[in-house]
């Protein structure tokens, strides 16, 4: 008797669960953005589930540093989620080539994105796209508005004005002109070289020519940014050689520095920490009237696990991610991470708005070292970190740095040989 009841109970549970499955499909999302957990749970998931009954979402982030390794082993073991947040370029390309990410080129929603936006998650010949672009970060300079009005400085638009402004701040002496250090090296490359550089190598034009082997890192347009960086040193404040990234952030938000070479991802952090008004200006052009270029770097995408059991529902979600509705929610909840869709998004944060407005005036490009060129050893991105720091410190001439990088790249990259 007892056994029968148990069997009945088990049978009914099984029945109920299978009934539940028939009603709702649960999709699991793999991500490294554990900072965004509340954003997903409170805003994105409810918005999606409201408009798509029958599909439930579960956001399961892991620590950023462990993400790639954890994801790879989950994919190999077949236990990974249905949707996979994609790192840009080679990390995701490797997943696609191993058959872990599905080809999404056929999706109509992919037409919502520009070629630059899609490039981060495509095969080298752009024949297959495997992730829907989610967000990009834009480079520029954030400045202390109070300091600028106090010293009577206009927002600089050309390099000449930029250095004139720095001179004026330095002369006055109450602010450190610019907050950046070379200790961690990457800021020099990311917020230095790749921030001002696109104006020199004309954005996509130069970047693509470099990949094609038509331009070399020893050419004037790739060397000149180092010469400009070398001029930054006197404005960086005492002991900038040992100044770390958090040091620079604190110097700026405490109001001790006037200008901060930035990426837009700083916006939400700065908004909570700084108690003065902030503005942003785009990398100054070399001569007045020049066309401007900005680094609008594609950073996050989302793709589909090729082995998912619910490809239809997963594609439905991806199509929604590509829609303006998602872009509006995401762009406003995370100021500084800009949606990549072609339809413009109404942003509320003034600083984020300022950054996003440059997209209308300037040509967008991505960081020069990210696509293809950092595939071999020596790694061009890592080499650029060291070169940019050396340029600022003046330990090597711009020409020597260009030659060193070119030699390293040419040692493994066929088109540059």
């Amino acid at each position: 008797m007892k056994r029968n009841i148990l069997a009945l109970a088990m049978a009914s549970t099984a029945l109920f669960t299978s009934a539940a499955f028939a009603e709702d499909v649960t999709l699991t999302i793999e991500s490294w953005r554990n900072d965004d957990l509340t954003l997903w749970q409170e805003k994105i998931i409810p918005a999606f589930e409201a408009s798509h009954p029958g599909i439930k979402l579960k956001f399961t982030p892991s620590a950023p540093t462990e993400y790639n390794a954890a994801l790879n082993s989950k994919l190999d073991a077949g236990s990974a989620g249905d949707l996979i947040t994609c790192r840009p370029f080679d990390a995701s390309l490797a997943l696609y080539e191993a058959g872990h990410l599905a080809d999404l080129s056929g999706m109509d929603a992919m037409d919502n994105f520009s070629d630059v936006a899609k490039a981060a998650w495509q095969t080298d010949d752009a024949s297959a796209s495997f992730c829907v672009p989610m967000a990009a970060v834009i480079h520029g300079f954030i400045y202390n508005k109070d300091a600028f009005s106090e010293l009577g400085i206009e927002v600089p638009t050309t390099e000449e004005e930029f250095f004139a402004a720095l001179d004026k701040i330095k002369e006055d002496g109450s602010y450190i002109p610019m907050a950046m250090g070379t200790n961690d090296q990457w800021e020099a490359a990311t917020m230095g070289y790749n921030n001002i550089g696109p104006n020199y190598w004309k954005g996509e034009e130069g970047r693509k020519a470099l990949i094609a082997g038509e331009q070399k890192l020893t050419d004037e347009q790739w060397v000149a940014p180092y010469a400009t960086l070398a001029k930054w040193a006197p404005y960086l404040g005492d002991g900038y050689e040992a100044q770390t990234y958090p040091d620079s952030q604190n110097l700026f938000t405490l109001g001790r520095a006037a200008i901060y070479p930035a990426g837009s991802w700083e916006i939400s952090g700065f908004n909570t920490q700084a108690d003065f008004e902030m503005g942003a200006f785009k990398p100054p052009v070399r001569n007045a009237g020049d066309k401007c270029y900005i680094s609008d770097h594609t950073d996050i995408g989302i793709g589909m696990n090729a082995k998912t059991e619910h490809p239809e529902q997963a594609k439905e979600f991806l199509a929604w991610v590509a829609s303006p509705e998602f872009a509006t929610i995401f762009g406003n909840a995370l100021p500084g991470f800009f949606p990549l869709s072609k339809t413009p998004v109404e942003l509320e944060d003034p600083l984020a708005k300022e950054f996003a407005s440059w997209r209308g005036e300037c040509e967008s490009t991505i960081r020069s070292t990210y696509q293809i060129l950092s595939r071999g050893t020596p790694n061009l991105e890592n080499e650029t970190w060291g070169a940019s720091a050396a340029a600022i410190k003046g330990t090597e001439t711009p020409e020597a740095l260009g030659k060193k990088l070119q030699d390293g790249l040419a040692s493994w990259y066929e088109p540059q040989k």
């Binding site: 080679d90 961690d184 070292t369 890592n382 720091a389």
Partner: protein
């Protein structure tokens, strides 16, 4: 007479240690050495013999980094030998002085940094030496020596020496403790006999104590050598995997880490990484052998 029974208890008692060591030390060691002989070509793992080592020592892109790291490693070791060990011996000699008060207190205080985590030490010293928030510039300013201050950790010419000295500060307690123990084990009778012959004070240290603690100094040197050539943590926490500025603090440990696990956009290369790890193993092995056969066997020992 029957043959002696096989002594099973020996096997039983040895088994746990042998199994654990094999699993976590011996197997990984030999597997690393084996991995160094392979490479990845078109997504297939292929046996390439000594090719990885030829690349490491022959290709200027690799060998420049390797020799740079090895040279830095020797400088790191030299500073420890010239600063850490003499200071350790001096501290031990002072501490073992019978009339020193609060000896136990000093001993503990000097030993405390040794038990701190590398992360804490690296972070604390980075803050102390920071040109922006650090207390080092303020303290130098207070005694009028502000001009001597430089952002040491950010300058190519000083960074490695600064980090070596931080490491010395952290580990000076180890030679101190070992020598202190050796000094305490010297029988009072010998010193008294020396005193009767007129050898007191400093000359007692040089003529009686030092020869007796020489074997301990040898052990400390070899421990320092092995520790320094395996070092990684302090550089990694203070300067990151790129061992900046411009690789001036890159030692074999950070070079191996960067190669093996990859960094930022650079994907990891376990095969070249293993080759570097094998080279480190060989260097340490040669160093230890030189010591064991060249010095240890010739050292005079005194029966106390």
């Amino acid at each position: 007479m029957s043959r002696p029974r096989f002594r099973w208890h020996i096997v039983v008692f040895l088994a746990p240690a042998v199994l654990v060591y094999t699993a976590v030390m011996i197997f990984p060691l030999f597997n690393t050495l084996r991995l160094a002989l392979y490479s990845k070509v078109d997504k297939e793992r292929v046996f390439v013999g000594l090719q990885n080592f030829i690349t490491l020592l022959g290709d200027p892109l690799w060998s420049d980094q390797f020799w740079n790291a090895l040279g830095n490693n020797f400088w790191f070791f030299l500073i420890h030998m010239l600063v850490q060990n003499p200071i350790g011996i001096a501290l031990a000699a002072i501490l073992s002085h019978p009339r020193l008060r609060f000896a136990a207190f000093y001993r503990s205080v000097i030993f405390i940094p040794t038990i701190l985590s590398f992360v804490i030490v690296g972070f604390a010293w980075k803050l102390i030496l920071s040109p922006i928030w650090g207390i080092a510039p303020t303290m130098l300013d207070a005694v009028g020596l502000k001009s001597l201050f430089a952002p040491w950790l950010g300058k190519e010419e000083y960074a490695l020496t600064a980090l070596s000295l931080i490491s010395v500060w952290q580990f000076v307690g180890i030679p101190m403790m070992l020598i202190y123990a050796a000094l305490l084990s010297i029988p009072e009778e010998i010193l008294e006999a020396g005193e009767i012959d007129g050898i007191t004070g400093m000359s007692a240290f040089w003529k009686i104590k030092l020869p007796l603690i020489l074997p301990s100094i040898g052990i400390i040197s070899i421990l320092t050598f092995v520790g320094n050539f395996n070092a990684f943590d302090l550089i990694y926490t203070a300067q990151g995997a790129l061992a900046g500025p411009d690789f001036s603090t890159d030692i074999l440990g950070t070079f191996m880490y960067r190669t093996f696990f990859g960094f930022q956009l650079q994907l990891g290369d376990p095969y070249m990484g293993s080759a570097i790890a094998s080279a480190m193993f060989a260097i340490i092995l040669i160093g230890v052998c030189l010591y064991l056969f060249g010095i240890q066997t010739r050292m005079r020992r005194y029966q106390l």
